[in-house]
């Protein structure tokens, strides 16, 4: 086939043109065999630049286009679209990066121009072996899996369900609600957290499009974008959900007391329990570890008293198989354990609390019914709140947890409100009150008499009279000082869930250096991931407050909706393909595939590539013992690659004999 190649050299303003002699490069390209037209232009990606290419494709009847400009990840798709619009198959295009690979990495004009020449010659040689490829289309299952039933997951679930999509909401705990259910009030408006959360929880429960799978965990995921197969394990509650009416008689009769994790261990619950009064679903759960029947084979009192005979000690874990088109991960965060900071003595001194513990103390339904009292029943007269415990600290987490300043101030406000005679100090590094109405709240708390001291607490010791001595440097005064306090509150960091990496592995998405789920782009694709059917939202992607989490929950729902409403999903055809006639069925390619895309076809006893799963990494192609004829990578065939290499290595800018022939 006669090739008519067009070469387009971009100046990228002065980014390229100041280092690469673009005129010389264009002249050189014009002289290459097969090239019918070579042009340069200040901004090839601009509208007139694109028009230039389109016009040439039609006028000269171009069969291939080479653009030498920036990185293909930047504008590759732009120029592919240009080709497509002008009627040329987009895979007949090749991009050369003469910015990041050439002009930005040297000041030597001559050398840069020479290197650019080689790269352009290589691309021109390569496109001669390009072949038209067609995009792959697969249908989408019209349902969404949401992992995590906190405020983020709830928001996403409601948005999707209200748009008519089927939603499976998987929650690990016996009730949905997440961290927000543990909060008393929310900054900066001091809304009652339960009052704004529980109606949404009820909406979720009553929405016919939402299936709540509480007390359940994800076991396994297979399939691909639009067609995920998910296995969920529903842990046994030992209570029949269909029969339990949530009357609570079982809990009143249960003799076994357990530290209440919902109240951060500050009170007791029974071995059969609901985590909090507004739990959804309102179904009781038996804590196997503490139940007298399971531990000592006695009791069974709950079974005797249950009016609906809902107790079932024989219940087994149940595996549920789901098919979904998209996934939203909204698994939230864990609270940093401050006991590792030995100098603060958390766990040793009984009056050193974490923020979330004090949050429970302030809650009307908490262990003290909202009164601020210490473990010995006293009301504290001096309270010190220490900021950045575990955050902004090289020893623990370098990042800012974003919510601590605000929740610390909210706690200060609540302590002042509930114990009006108390003196409250905030020891801060910097105050980060970045949200709407946050700065105003900071001012309000100051006006309420909370004392702000700039400086990080060095250590806490206990004095002879049992008080806590907080030592710190007041960095505005430049003096080391001490405060004698009755209560110290540690504003602890937010950190990734302990098992976040495991979940990331199951869903095949990366985590960032801190262990949070990694978004595809920090600004332009904040809830997408590299796995195109999997979205992330809320604090599992990084510390977030409620407004941001809700916004991300809604954003992830919109992304999932945008995906599902396409009806079919388009996939890149630059992937591996098997020549079934030559495949011996050795299965080596199956063992090396990182995406589980190559599978063994039992009928033909050969390997086969699941087109939508294949990411075109080429690992299988390299592993195939019978070579390029059997497993070949579209868009990266041996012919194409060798033509490219030869043009560079042989420094011959005339067409070369291709040494390997392909079938």
């Amino acid at each position: 086939m006669d090739r008519k190649i067009g070469v387009y050299i971009c100046h990228c303003g002065l980014n390229i043109a100041s280092t690469v002699n673009v005129q010389k490069l264009t002249e050189f390209a014009q002289g290459l065999e097969g090239v019918v037209i070579a042009r340069d232009y200040p901004y090839m990606c601009s509208d007139p630049g694109q028009e230039l290419i389109k016009k040439d494709i039609k006028e000269y009847g171009l069969t291939n286009v080479v653009v030498a400009s920036c990185s293909p990840t930047m504008h590759g798709p732009t120029f592919q679209k240009v080709c497509e619009e002008a009627g040329l198959n987009p895979y007949m295009f090749q991009m050369v990066n003469i910015r990041e690979h050439v002009s930005w990495v040297t000041d030597d004009v001559e050398k840069a121009t020479e290197k650019a020449k080689l790269l352009v010659a290589a691309a021109v040689n390569r496109v001669k072996f390009h072949e038209p490829l067609e995009k792959i289309h697969v249908p989408l299952t019209q349902s969404v899996l949401i992992v995590g039933g906190g405020i983020t997951g709830i928001e996403a679930a409601l948005k999707l369900a209200n748009s008519g999509k089927k939603v499976y909401l998987v929650e690990r705990e016996p009730s949905i609600g997440g961290r927000m259910a543990q909060l008393e009030k929310t900054f900066p408006t001091l809304d009652c957290a339960s009052c704004i959360l529980t109606p949404k929880m009820v909406d979720v429960a009553s929405n016919p499009n939402i299936t709540i799978l509480a007390y359940s965990e994800i076991k396994e995921v297979s399939g691909y974008i639009g067609n995920y197969k998910v296995k969920v394990v529903k842990k046994p509650r030992y209570v029949d959900e269909n029969k339990c009416i949530g009357c609570g008689l079982c809990a009143t009769k249960c003799p076994s007391k357990v530290l209440d994790e919902f109240n951060m261990g500050l009170s007791y619950r029974k071995a059969i329990y609901i985590p909090f009064p507004q739990a959804v679903p309102r179904k009781y759960t038996i804590d196997r570890e503490r139940c007298l029947y399971f531990t000592k084979n006695i009791c069974r009192v709950c079974e005797r008293f249950c009016p609906t005979k809902a107790i079932n000690f024989e219940q087994k874990p149940e595996e549920i198989a789901l098919e979904v088109g998209a996934v939203i991960l909204a698994t939230g965060y864990d609270v940093f354990d401050p006991s590792v900071i030995k100098r603060y003595g958390y766990g040793r001194y009984k009056n050193v609390y974490t923020g979330l513990e004090v949050e429970r103390l302030t809650s009307a339904s908490g262990p003290t019914n909202g009164r601020i009292i210490l473990r010995d029943g006293r009301t504290p007269s001096t309270v010190v709140i220490i900021h950045c415990v575990g955050s902004r600290d090289e020893n623990y987490h370098v990042y800012c947890s974003r919510v601590c300043c605000m929740y610390a101030m909210k706690l200060a406000h609540l302590i002042k409100e509930r114990a009006p005679n108390s003196t409250v100090y905030e020891l801060y590094i910097d105050i980060r009150a970045h949200g709407k109405g946050y700065e105003e709240f900071y001012r309000r708390v100051q006006e309420e008499g909370v004392i702000f001291i700039r400086g990080k607490a060095a250590e806490i010791t206990e004095s002879d009279n049992g008080k806590l001595i907080v030592t710190f440097e007041d960095t505005l005064l430049g003096k080391v000082q001490q405060i004698e306090a009755d209560m110290v509150v540690l504003a602890t960091a937010l950190e990734p869930r302990k098992d976040a990496r495991e979940l990331a592995r199951i869903f095949n998405i990366p985590v960032d250096k801190n262990g949070f789920f990694l978004e595809r782009h920090p600004k332009l694709a904040p809830v997408s991931t590299v796995n195109r059917g999997v979205f992330v939202a809320g604090a599992c992607q990084g510390p977030k407050d409620i407004p941001d989490s809700v916004a991300q929950g809604a954003a992830a729902a919109a992304e999932a909706l945008a995906l599902l409403s396409q009806g079919v999903v388009e996939a890149e055809p630059v992937i591996a393909e098997v020549n079934k006639d030559l495949c011996s069925g050795c299965r080596i390619c199956i063992s090396v595939c990182p995406y589980n895309a190559t599978v063994f076809d039992r009928e033909s006893k050969t390997a086969s590539v699941q087109e939508v799963l294949c990411q075109g990494c080429g690992t299988c192609v390299a592993s195939c013992p019978s070579g390029a004829r059997t497993l070949r990578q579209r868009g990266f065939t041996d012919k194409q690659i060798i033509a490219e290499i030869e043009a560079i290595l042989l420094k011959r800018f005339v067409p070369v004999e291709v040494l390997i022939t392909e079938t």
């Binding site: 100098r343 003595g345 250590e459 010791t461």
Partner: protein, 299 residues
């Protein structure tokens, strides 16, 4: 861990040597190790550790002093060096770290002591006696050697500032618990103080006595509050300061004049049944301790 036949070199430093103020720390440590079947060989012709104070005025000189000891230990083919004094421990650790990590220092040092530039130098380890007893000898071996369990005796461990800081590879830098472990292995009841790693005042005793007394007063009070019947130290300077301060504080503190302040190795030696002369414990102190103890022979 099987430590039988394990050989270490021993660096006493000025204070724990035969004529030093901490000689009883040295005597008792060696006696305890002997009882556990460990032989240590004193580094031949050792010199000053390089001293943290000297380093401030002449850094290179300080490293050269420390390096000479390291080189001697290597020449003896005993690269694990046992040290008692926390100041020596810090200083020698610092020298070793600099030799390993700082090319400029290494070049200067190896000009003088070429053996420190050899691959063998990577085997050099500075070991504190606490680290060695807890992590190499271990619970079982110590418990097996106990002849008199210090049943019910409330013992406070005072670490001082340098044992775990900044070189904290054998325990938590802020809240170490190794000494408490040893105390409980020999049958004692460890008592806690939030001030156990606070500074004893150090050299300030010579120039600003009142400041030091204020600091130590708090340390004493925190131990007395917990009912301590004996305070053990692991540093000659801490030991000296506590002893001196007790006398000078006089009525300002409610510390029993007979409350024994001894080295932890002396206490361990006592429980091993080693003679008081060998441990360097005065008869008064030993009697006082024995009076408090319920003596039980181990199986």
């Amino acid at each position: 861990m099987d430590t039988s036949g394990k050989a270490l070199s021993y660096y006493p430093g000025c204070s724990c040597s035969r004529n030093g103020i901490g000689r009883h720390y040295g005597f008792s440590s060696l006696a305890v190790l002997r009882a556990l079947g460990i032989t240590v060989s004193e580094i031949e012709d050792w010199n000053c550790c390089g001293s943290n104070l000297y380093r401030v005025v002449d850094e290179k000189g300080s490293y050269l002093l420390g390096a000479r000891n390291l080189a001697k230990a290597l020449e003896m083919n005993l690269p694990e060096i046992l040290i008692l004094c926390p100041a020596c421990f810090l200083s020698m650790n610092r020298t070793l770290t600099e030799i390993l990590a700082n090319t400029k220092v290494r070049n200067e040092i190896t000009k003088k002591y070429s053996i420190l530039g050899s691959p063998a130098s990577s085997r050099l380890r500075i070991r504190h006696v606490i680290d060695f007893l807890v992590n190499d000898i271990g619970e079982e071996a110590i418990k097996n050697r106990v002849k008199r369990r210090l049943e019910g005796l409330k013992i406070a461990a005072y670490y001082g500032c340098q044992i775990t800081r900044p070189y904290s590879y054998f325990d938590d830098p802020e809240f170490p618990t190794s000494l408490e472990k040893i105390i409980s292995w020999i049958g004692g009841q460890p008592v806690e103080s939030p001030l156990k790693t606070k500074c004893c005042g150090g050299m300030l005793m010579l120039t600003n006595e009142e400041e030091v007394l204020t600091v130590i007063e708090k340390i004493f009070n925190s131990y007395v509050r917990e009912g301590a019947e004996c305070i053990v130290t692991a540093c000659p300077l801490c030991h000296l300061n506590l002893e001196m301060a007790r006398t000078r504080l006089g009525k300002r503190i409610s510390v029993d004049k007979r409350l024994p302040i001894i080295y932890f190795t002396q206490l361990v030696g006592l429980s091993f049944g080693i003679g008081i002369d060998e441990l360097g414990i005065s008869k008064n102190i030993a009697e006082h301790l024995i009076e408090k103890m319920v003596l039980t022979a181990t199986v």
